[in-house]
Amino acid sequence: MSIILDKVRKVYGSQTIVDDISLEIQTGELFVLLGASGSGKSTLLRLIAGLLPADGGQIALDGRNVTALPPQERNTGFVFQNYSLFRQMTTAQNIGFGLEIRKQSKTVRDKRVTELLKLIGLEGLGSRMPWQLSGGQQQRVALARALAYEPSVLLLDEPFGALDVKIRAQLRQNLLEIQRQLNVTTILVTHDQDEAFELADRIGIIEGGKLLEVGTPNALYRRPQTRFAATFLGAANLLPGQRNGTHVYVGDTSLTAPPDTEHLSNQPVEILVRPEEVELALQQDALQSQLVGHGVVQQVGFAGPLERVVVRLDDANFEPLQVLLSPEKVRSLSLARDSAVWVGLQDYHLLPRNGEAVNN
């Protein structure tokens, strides 16, 4: 286990910024801490690096309890959102700084710097000053600088936040390759769920200083345990229902209860349906999934590769459903405003009502 957090806590005045967070991260894992701004994610990263003192709990890196150690003795690599390169030093001096501090000889340093410049695809740019580099290049230099002295963990605080979308996508792939190649245990903090999905081995969702849920991107997207996670990770339709026996009762119909939801038996629940899991048909028999009701199309709109359709169910208790369909499907059903449709659910998940996770 490369990173172990045990009830780590940070308080400012009367406000708890990091609220007893416990977490274990495997060696070589790329863990993404996902949360909105002010959720405490960056603070947690700084606690791990030792840039802020923790008010409670234990932090172990590589099996070493570092809770009481200053940042200098934790051997972490930290990349800031604004890169924070040393602007009076060249790219090579920036990358070599950690090795210089470790009293490595100039020969060793130069060799390592050359290696890293190659790794980040900036060969030959070692003599440039930071302000002569583009944002994306600065970001890569910051990464190389943090990796140069082979830190036991790599900590990235919104590393792509200041870049435009196209460069961001490219740099994510870059980071992923480098991380896999070096097998360095990594925590990346972001508010961007796409980034989390693309990079993470596991995602931890953090909100109000609490680690709400941890899981693989797939598990968190399809089977979240909390309403917050469900709505934070992508668009979510939530229908009120009641789970009794083997079924969930929704309006006038019932659906088979998903197998992993026994703990919600005889409870009011919410059915979570992702927009791409809603099926529409013109006849009830044409539905290939479980029927949930009848409704009327309110809106059809362009959403890039897919069309976004909004359907109001006849049962007024339900919020309008967000549906994503292929353009082909929209054409074959000739969907337009006021089309009457039957609605089915291909895949769904149950959440406890009121958004509270059940402790069991």
């Binding site: 690096a49 030792g50 840039l51 924070s84 040393f86 009076q88 700084f97 501090i101 600088r145």
Partner: protein, 276 residues
Amino acid sequence: MREIRPHKPLHFLILGIALVYVAVLLLAPIVSIIQRALENGFEPVITSLSEPNVIHALQVTFLMTLGAVLLNTVFGIIIAWVLTRQRFRGRRILNILVDIPFVFSPVIAGYTLIVLFGRSGWLTPTTIPIVFALPGVMLAKTFVSLPFVTREVGPVLATLDTEPEQAAYTMGASQWTTFRRIVLPNIWPGIMYGVVLTLARALGEFGAVSVVGGGIEGKTETATMFVFRALNDRNDIGAYSMSLLLGVTAIIVLIVMRLLRRSVVREQAAYVNHSG
């Protein structure tokens, strides 16, 4: 552009007022000193500046000013650091105290130093004398020029991003190494500008220095005090010559200051243009 080329009578009137004001109050004295000092060529100037008393006064001025500059640079940076990087009780009071030399009459400043370090003062040392001795001269110069480095370095430190420092910490750099390698290069232009201002102020100080030092000829007399004595003694050529020398030094300092200021502005512009 809000600038205009003057073309109406009113424009010329306003321009004229500004020029005459500066000419009478600033330019005319300088010109008159130069004119009077060089009335009979360079020779008398050089002769009068070569007198042992004058040379001693210049040595005292130079060395004591150097001491004041060194003290105020080191302690000025420390005060600026504490004021911008630490939150503590009394920070605002400290911040106000730093400006006292700006508002205190130098004579009063000198007097307080006598009270403090003179006979039966709170801090009177038993071994070396301070009042009416060279340490007193240096202390007086230090007192009057104390705020400049702090006031020049403070704003630079306050706007300095601290994340590069944090990055250096995570890379294993100690606080001192981080200050030396990361912070110092960034605040360097501010320090230099503060040093130049400190130098100018300490060099030209008269009031406090004459009160604390006593202006003992050949002992604690400084360049400005020499000018004052020369005037009393009707030693006109001595007064003009020394004034000329101090004036030229001041103008050199002014030019250095302008050049430094320009480099500070340029550096800030470069940083703004290329970051974020």
